[in-house]
Structure formats: C-alpha cells, structure tokens
C-alpha cells in the first residue's frame, strides 16, 4: 500500500498553484493527483515521491493536510476485472484516479482485504511507486 496526501483547499483560482508551488520549492514531485470539490472548498488528493518532505512543507505554510493508505493497482488487468473482483468481495471503492503510466489509485473500504484478493487473482498491486 502507498500513502496518499489529502490537502484542504478553497475552491478558487490560485489555491492549487499555491500548493504546487510549495511542493516544487520543497523539491517534491507529484506522481498522481485528483481533485474533489464541494461548494467553496475541495480536497486535493495526491501521491508524491517524498511524503515526509511534502507534509512538512505544506504544514509549515499552515495548510490542512492528512495522510491515508490507498492501493496502487496495475490498470492493465482491466478496470472491469479489478472492480468486479472487489465488488464480488463486497469491497467498496470510495474514489479512484489515475496518474502517469498505467496505475490506478484506489481508496477502498478495506485496503488489507482488497490487497489480498487482487493479489490472489493475479492483479499486480504496487507497494511503492
């Protein structure tokens, strides 16, 4: 499993660039990213190459940032196959997004179980990216 950062941002021009600037200046690369919005605010979810450095830089600037474990799955197994395996095991997909390459990042209701069932069905799940 890998760590996702979730950053609370106001839904207005310039906020994402402010966050990205802080990461760039800290020497952190964003590997994958998705944005979810609700009215005046939203959450940026992302996978970065240096979690500790990123958290430090964002918190120093006063930003609200949290960490959570997610799955990084090889999408070449097929989105249908992956989601069917999870569905058959009563595992819910809360959200998903893709980055460069053929990896799909998923937040599911039971990461441990999902990891096991995907592995045993021969789907590649990454431990690092």
């Amino acid at each position: 499993m890998i760590t996702q950062l979730s950053v609370f941002l106001e839904n207005k021009p310039g906020r994402l660039s402010e966050m990205a600037r802080l990461l760039q200046e800290a020497g952190v690369n964003i590997k994958a990213m998705g944005i979810a919005e609700a009215g005046n605010h939203g959450i940026v979810r992302m996978v970065v190459d240096n979690v500790d450095l990123a958290v430090k830089a964002l918190q120093k600037a006063g930003m609200a940032v949290s960490k959570v474990d997610i799955l990084a799955i090889d999408m070449r197994a097929g989105v249908y196959q992956i989601s069917k395996i999870l569905g058959d095991h009563e595992i819910n997909i809360d959200y998903a997004y893709t980055g460069s390459g053929s990896i799909i990042f998923m937040k599911v209701s039971d990461e441990g179980k999902a990891y096991q069932v995907l592995k045993s069905a021969g789907v590649k799940v990454y431990d690092t990216i």
């Binding site: 996702q4 979730s6 950053v7 609370f8 941002l9 106001e10 906020r15 979810a36 919005e37 609700a38 009215g39 005046n40 605010h41 939203g42 959450i43 979810r45 918190q59 120093k60 006063g62 930003m63 609200a64 940032v65 949290s66 959570v68 809360d94 937040k107």
Partner: protein
C-alpha cells in the same frame, strides 16, 4: 555598599506591598450595597451641580428637561427623564466642547478611532490620570497580578487608551512593565520569552494570534514562556475563545472592560471567580436600559449599559450610552467584592447586525464555532442583499487537525455548523470553510463583520 542596598531593597519591598494593600482596601471599603449606593448618590449630587455650572451642554440639557440640579437626589430622579449623553454629543462638540475644566488644566488627550467621520476626543486632568491608574491597578490586583509580575502591555499605545491605561496601572502596583504596544509579533514573542513575561495584556484575538504565530515560528509554547495571567479586552469574546487562548498560551484569562469615554480600560474586571466583571461603582454609576425605549430594564434583564462617571473631572459624563449589551448582577460574589458585575459583554449595539430583522452578534457566532471540533475561532460574518432578502454568510477557518481525504466529512461539518447557527441565531446562515490562515489577522480589534449592504 551592601548595607545601603539592603535598606533600599527593604523599603522598596515594604512600600510596594503596602501600595497593593492600600489600593485593594479602597476597592473593598464599602461594607454593604446600601453604603455604596449612598456614596454614589452623594457623588452624583456633587457631579450634577459640577456639570451644570461648568458644561454649557449639560446646563442646556438640564434646562430643557426642566430639571434643577438641586432636585437630583439620586439616579432615579434622572431615570424619570430621557436624560442621556450619547457618542454623537461628543462628536457634535468636537473636539472638546464638553470640557468641564479650563483647557490649561488638561494634561492628556486620547481619541477613539473615527470609523465614521470625526474621531471622539477625550481629555484628562492630572487627577483623572491618577484615578485611571488606580482603577487599572485595582483590575490587575483583583485579577491576581502583583508587584512581582512582568507585565507585557501589547495593547496599542497612542491615541487608543488600551496601552497607556494598563501601563499606568501596572506601574502603580510596582510590576515590571514591558510597553510592547501592538504589532511586531516576532519581537513581542522574543521579549516575552527572554524577559519572562508573566502577565499579558492585549485583545483576545491578538492573544490567539500570538499563540498561532509562536507555534509556526519555532517557539515552544510549553517551555519558552512563563505566562500565567492574561488581561484581555477591548472587544467582545466568548468562553470558547477563552478556552482556546488559555490552552494555547498556558495562562488564566481575565476579561477587562472599559472605553475611552470612561477613562479607558479599567472600568470593570473579572475577579478569580470569573462570573461577571466587577464594575468599580465608587467611580461609575451603571444602569441597564432598553436601547429602544430608554427605560431601565427589570433587574437581571439584558440591555444597553449606561454609565455615569462619578469622579472624572475634565470630561465627566452623565448617563453615557455605551452601546454595549449585557446584564447586571448585584448579588454578592464569592470573591468578597460587593461591586455589581456586568455579565460577559454580548456585543455592541453597533456591532449587532440585523439579518432579515433578527439581531445577530458576532459573539453568538463565536460561541457556536468554538464548541464544534475541527474549526478555529477565526471567522467573519458577511452580510449582503442579493435580491430583496438579507443573506448571512459565516466564513470560518478549518483547523489543520481536521484535514481529511473524505469530502463528505467536510460537507457534514459544514451542514452541522449551519444547523447550529440557525438554532443559536434564529436566522439561517450559510457557512464557508476556509483554509487555515485565510482570514487576515489583526493586531488590535478583530474585524468580524463585513456588511456589503451599506456599500450600495
């Protein structure tokens, strides 16, 4: 010469201690409320004659009301009339038309910020400055400060009365005073740490900002500071904000009350019981009135505080309408002081905003926000009128601790705040969650209200 030094030290210590005792004894010299009220009536009779003879504005007012100074025996005689002094009277007599002493006798002026037009100028003679210092000394002592304290005064110095008022009071009790004034937060914290400040005087919103700044700039709130007491005032604040400031700065926070028209800070203070602020009734006669009718409210009811200055010489005021909304408690306090207590100021009649006809105070909003996990007490009320109806928007910063990857949690939080606000205010408000630090910080009084209706 060690012997001389010793002697000096002993004398110094002795006289400081006795000064504290003397100031407290004066505050406690009345044995009953009846005795205190008798004293007030005596001072009031003298005051009425004094202003009638010396202030044309008051002479005219008495004549208009058909009141002869000699017929005013107690405050009830004034309550039968619509005799009030309002801020506009001071403005209309700008700068010092209501002075009761020759200008030559004045030793100090202060002025309150004129957000609308001219500033309000107030003046003091030497005796006033002395009285004011004693009132603030009383406040500090009653709150628990002593000559051993290092008092950092972070209210603004200058035309605003906050800085110099607390400064003179702290000096009078023999404390060590750091006249830091407002602003330059880095330097404030450095001095606070290096000089071992034990008592901090500033606005509650600035106290919170100091804590926030300290945390973000490498200070250790647990180890770097020796703060034990906070004297916070000049703006209405809630119990929730008190808890936050106390937790963050590791001190005990006391509310202080005053305004430049009544010397400045030092009119009332919370004793260690902290259930209301004792008004120094040997210097101020306080009433609570219905702001609409001008009639005194029933005991224990909320209304506008009205003050008569019993001892001011240069610029005495009779039944001055403070525009602060609170209620008065005259039952004995377990601290032993018999002075009446004004309960926490709910807001100002002019801080109050009317939203669709309902009166809303920022302090009510603050109380709601401060009891909900995941929010900070940094907030702003925005009112506008897009169509025919007023719209209230409450913007509040999310606490960094509330960060989450689940959007639903934020939406639920937002709805919960909206529901609780509607419950507390009696009018619907929409809520915007802001990033931590989004609302501009203030070094003096926090700006809580943005009323876009008045811009049109």
């Amino acid at each position: 010469m060690p012997r001389t030094n010793n002697t000096v030290m002993c004398i110094g210590f002795y006289s400081r201690g006795s000064m504290e005792a003397r100031i407290l004894a004066k505050a406690k010299r009345f044995r009953s409320r009846a005795e205190l009220q008798e004293h007030q009536s005596k001072l009031l009779r003298r005051l009425v004659r004094y202003v009638y003879d010396r202030v044309p504005f008051y002479k005219k007012k008495f004549n208009e009301q058909g009141l002869k100074p000699d017929n005013v025996k107690s405050i009830q005689d004034l309550q039968r009339t619509k005799f009030f002094t309002v801020k506009d009277d001071l403005r209309r007599n700008y700068p010092l038309g209501m002075l009761a002493v020759p200008f030559e006798e004045v030793v100090r002026v202060h002025a309150s910020s004129g957000t609308t037009g001219l500033p309000t100028v107030v003046a003091y003679n030497a005796k006033d400055i002395e009285t004011w210092a004693e009132l603030d000394a009383r406040c500090l002592l009653v709150a628990g400060a002593s000559s051993r304290d290092v008092v950092q005064v972070s209210y603004g110095y200058g035309l605003f009365t906050g800085g110099l008022g607390l400064h003179y009071g702290a000096e009078l009790i023999g404390a060590k005073v750091i006249p830091a004034s407002a602003g330059n937060t880095q330097r404030q914290l450095t001095l606070m740490r290096d000089l071992g400040t034990t008592v901090l005087c500033c606005t509650p919103s600035y106290a919170l900002y100091l804590a926030e700044y300290a945390r973000d700039h490498g200070f250790d709130l647990e180890r770097d500071f020796r703060l034990r007491l906070g004297i916070f005032g000049a703006e209405p604040w809630s119990e929730g904000l008190r808890r936050q400031v106390e937790e963050n700065l590791k001190l005990r926070a006391h509310d202080i009350y005053g305004m430049s028209e009544l010397y400045g800070p030092g009119v009332a203070i919370e004793c260690p019981e902290r259930c209301g602020l004792h008004v120094w009734e040997d210097h101020f006669l306080v009433e609570v009135i219905d702001p609409k009718t001008g009639e005194p409210v029933e005991p224990g009811e909320e209304g506008e505080l009205v003050f008569t200055t019993l001892t001011k010489e240069a610029l005495p005021l009779i039944r001055y309408r403070s525009r602060d909304v609170s209620m008065l408690e005259v039952d004995p306090c377990s601290c032993g002081l018999i002075h009446a207590r004004i309960m926490r100021i709910r807001g100002r009649t002019d801080d109050m905003i009317k939203v669709r006809g309902v009166a809303v105070f920022p302090s009510q909003v603050e109380e709601v926000l401060s009891r909900i996990d995941g929010l900070t007490p940094n907030y702003q009320l925005v009112v506008d009128r897009p169509g025919a109806l007023d719209r209230l928007l409450v913007r509040v910063e999310l606490s960094p601790r509330a960060a989450t990857d689940v959007l639903t949690r934020l939406v639920i939080l937002q709805r919960r705040v909206e529901e609780e606000l509607r419950e507390a205010l009696g009018v619907a408000a929409s809520v915007e969650l802001l990033e931590p630090g989004a609302i501009p910080r203030s070094e003096g009084k926090a700006k809580r209200i943005v009323d876009l209706r008045s811009l049109r």
